[in-house]
């Protein structure tokens, strides 16, 4: 009678069963770090008087948040990361020609069902979309994880989010998770595992499920989980080069809470400034003028996201008062979008297409908002100051809503264009 989270933590701690609240010491299967946190994690490991990572095949660094380097400080940080990777003989290293960690890691076969993954980035919960237990940790924890291959975890309670029914056209998985954020609140799932079930979820592509799990942390969750199915194995085929054992929740597993979402009746949703749970249906915020639209990030920078945007923007021009920035989440996405003509469609519509990176998402790279400006973004956080000035305003939405709004210059219901 266990959930996926309980089973994975138990099996990695040599236990038959693990109860919520219990503290276990578990064996890690893979650990990754973006540049911003990698150096700090290695300093922590060296401080622990450990010189080498526990397994050079299971630790990687990615240069994604700022790429290419924009100033001497982050250029030096990139340089240091390259040196660490060489000194530690890391088997995998992803330089600036790769993309956002949460997209690059699955594409390169590092994620598989039933595994225990840690990342030095809060959105590591994204990888739960593949039936893994994946959670974000800080650099001291990461120092321990890469140095010893082990880490302590408090076994989380699980909240089940069950969505039923087919989503209407131009309603996306982003709308499902924004609605979930509204219902549970920004601390509604603190320390929990969020398990997504139901026909709406089964219908979704693996990429759409990644969007759901990506935002689990915005509700305070330790991880998001979707049970693996044939879509999962199709995506992983040829990427994961070894066998794996999928894990499923028992029918009589105990949940702290169950939330029902009516997928068929769901409208597009928008998170308003300055909180991820300040969510309204698009119909209530439609007409709000925006200065910048960002389509990208680990939440919504995948091929299917760019495709929806291209379908809506194709053959049209973006509104003259709005800047549109589209950033594929990875080079794999970039190439696929390019070969299908999606990049050209977006460019022809007037969008600036950037190289794969975190881009506008976190306000440390490019596409910064000036005081008083309004940004509409497909990313996952709209805290005050997140994309630039503390006097700017960030709204979050799906790629469909973002693309529709790019055309009109104001927040627009994507079903109306």
């Amino acid at each position: 009678m266990s959930t996926v989270a309980e089973k994975i933590l138990a099996s990695h701690s040599g236990l038959d069963e693990a109860q919520p609240g219990e503290i276990v010491k578990a064996e890690i299967d893979f650990a990754f770090m973006p540049a911003l946190t990698a150096a700090l994690a290695f300093y922590a490991m060296y401080d622990m008087t450990i010189e080498k990572v526990w397994d050079r095949d299971k630790v990687t660094i990615l240069l994604d948040h700022i790429a290419p380097a924009t100033n001497i400080t982050n250029a030096s940080l990139h340089k240091e990361c390259r040196e660490i990777a060489r000194e530690q003989s890391l088997r995998y290293f992803y330089d600036i020609n790769s993309g956002v960690c949460h997209q690059v890691i699955p594409e390169n076969g590092h994620v598989y069902p039933g595994m225990l993954m840690v990342g030095a980035d809060s959105h590591t919960c994204t990888h739960g979309a593949f039936g893994a237990f994946a959670t974000g940790i800080g650099s001291t924890d990461m120092g321990a994880a890469i140095g010893t291959g082990k880490l302590w975890f408090k076994v989380p309670e699980t909240i089940r989010v069950n969505a039923e029914g087919r989503l209407a056209p131009r309603v996306m998985s982003k709308d499902v998770i924004l609605k979930t954020a509204k219902e549970l609140g920004a601390d509604g799932a603190t320390y929990c595992s969020l398990e997504f079930t139901g026909s709406t979820i089964r219908d979704m592509s693996v990429g759409a499920r990644m969007t759901l799990c990506n935002m689990a942390i915005e509700l305070g969750a330790k991880t998001g989980i979707v049970e693996p199915d044939d879509k999962t194995s199709r995506f992983l085929e040829g990427r994961v080069k070894h066998g794996y054992t999928p894990v499923y929740s028992d029918a009589d597993a105990v949940y702290r809470e169950k939330l029902e979402i009516d997928g068929a009746a769901l409208d597009p949703q928008v998170a308003c400034p300055h909180a991820v749970d300040n969510v309204k249906p698009v119909t209530e915020v439609a007409g709000k003028a925006v200065n910048q639209v960002f389509i990208g990030s680990c939440t919504n920078g995948r091929l299917e996201d760019l495709l929806v945007a291209a379908e809506i923007m194709g053959g049209k021009r973006v509104h003259p008062d709005v800047r549109v920035i589209a950033t594929p989440a990875s080079y794999e996405v970039y190439e696929a979008a390019n070969s299908r003509g999606i990049i050209k469609t977006l460019m022809d519509a007037g969008a600036v297409v950037c190289n794969p990176s975190c881009s506008v998402c976190f306000g440390g790279n490019h596409g910064i908002l000036a005081p008083g400006e309004v940004g509409l973004s497909t990313s996952n956080r709209n805290f005050r100051g997140r994309q630039g000035s503390t006097e700017s305003y960030v709204y979050l939405c799906s790629p469909a809503t973002a693309a529709a709004s790019a055309l009109t210059g104001a927040i627009t219901d994507p079903r109306e264009v």
């Binding site: 401080d47 700022i66 400080t73 800080g138 924890d141 302590w152 601390d187 909180a275 956080r381 100051g385």
Partner: protein, 163 residues
Amino acid sequence: MIRGKAWNYGDDVNTDFILPGIYLELTDPEEMGRHAMEGIDPGFVGKVQPGDVVVGGRNFGLGSSREHAPIALKHSGVSAVIAEGFARIFYRNATNLGLPALECPNVSKEIKTGDTVEVDLVEGTIIVNGTKTLSFVPVPEFMMRILAAGGLREHIKKNKAGW
């Protein structure tokens, strides 16, 4: 024993308030400490004294997993954070750095900015202005061991075999 002044910032103090995104490329803890709380109170670093505590309401530390936020707090001189609730990663990170993160119901109403507080980690009590006593939720034994060692680094250094 922790003794100092309290600085109360209310609910939902996120990691971008504690250390804004533009400083995330810093790797020197002292330098991070010089920008602590800049996203919500740019004058904080000029006012805070070693030993002071930061107080919050619900969901303190939500946002990034980057340890920059608790590192900045610790190196600005803050000796503990007391809040009604913590975001998970912040809670872990603070503990791992040896910075106590203490959960105390209603604390953001019970303690005002400027109050003097004395925190007893072992007794589990907070004395406010020498008069009122609050108690915080007991820290799990495993985490107390990490705090007692001064953080996870020291804990692992000492207990490498048993880890």
